[in-house]
């Protein structure tokens, strides 16, 4: 059940991570999908059902909020709580990568 409750435990799924990143500027649903796909060169794609559910979950957790938007399109923006969460997540992921790099360099050094 690790992922389902990830928001409560403070970690973000990859999709949520990219969504929060793209919401550094106010954005509506479809543009989030496009931006994430562009940023990652198509490696990370978020389908509409997944995006819709994730946006709903993030809104319920007050990590993001709706920002009006014109007519048919609902725009979202990140909240202060969401910003803190994103920054903590970046830090967490940085530590992960740092550790991985350290372990691999040590192994290479031993091999030489």
């Amino acid at each position: 059940m690790a992922r389902k409750d990830s928001l409560e435990s403070g970690t973000l799924t990859d999709a949520a991570f990219y969504i929060l990143l793209s919401l550094q500027t106010e954005q509506h649903g479809y543009l989030i999908m496009q931006q994430v796909e562009d940023w990652t060169g198509g490696e990370m794609k978020i389908g509409p059902a997944s995006l819709y559910t994730t946006l709903k979950k993030l809104t319920d957790a007050e990590v993001i909020e709706t920002a009006g938007g014109s007519g048919k399109r609902k725009a979202y923006r990140i909240t202060a709580k969401g910003q803190t969460m994103l920054e903590e997540e970046i830090e967490r992921r940085r530590r992960m990568v740092q550790l991985a790099e350290d372990v691999l360099t040590k192994r290479e050094e031993r091999a030489e």
Binding site: M1, A2, K4, H28, P48, A49, T53, G69, K72
Partner: protein, 176 residues
């Protein structure tokens, strides 16, 4: 316009298989149009052969931003029944579900919904079983029998999907 009908094997049991079959039929010139006969059949319309994929999403209160999110991503609304919405897209469109946790959540809410219905249909069933086994006037027997059959049917059609969705969420739980 020519129509034909294909049996719905129950979306709780063979959603993937059925949706693939609808794609095959669309490629053969029979496009899915909606449900017929209380949802037991898919209604198909003769059309130009087309390569499409189908997917289903559940939402109780879809607003206009809901529909535009799907259509902008290439998923066109075909038909809705209750809170279930069927969409179609070109084969190259990004799949509607791109992470396991969303699929899990979708099935979990269906499991809960059918679980609630199972309980609600079980109550009259028990009541009727008790009544049938108590001494009652003869004229009541046919009425009780009919009600009993209806009640069993309602229960089975709630409980079987509940079990199917329960199995799906259990399986996805291991993948999460």
């Amino acid at each position: 316009m020519k129509h034909k009908y294909v049996m719905n094997r129950g979306l709780a049991f063979s959603e993937e298989k059925d949706l693939r079959k609808l794609s095959d039929l669309a490629a053969a010139g029979w496009k899915f149009e909606g449900f017929a006969m209380f949802g037991f059949f898919y209604k198909l319309r003769q059309a130009e052969p087309e390569a499409v994929q189908y997917s289903i999403h559940h939402e109780q209160q879809p607003d206009s931003s809901y529909w535009s999110l799907f259509s902008e991503s290439g998923w066109m609304h075909v038909v809705s029944t209750g809170d279930m919405h069927v969409f179609e897209a070109a084969p190259e469109a990004v799949p509607m579900y791109t992470d396991v946790s969303t699929i899990h959540e979708n099935y979990l809410s269906l499991q809960k919904q059918f679980g609630r219905w199972s309980l609600w249909t079980l109550l009259p069933l028990i009541l009727l079983l008790v009544l049938t086994n108590m001494t009652h006037p003869v004229w009541l027997t046919p009425i009780l029998t009919v009600l009993l059959i209806m009640s069993v049917t309602a229960f089975v059609f709630s409980f079987m999907p509940f079990l199917a969705y329960l199995r799906k969420t259990k399986k996805l739980n291991r993948e999460l």
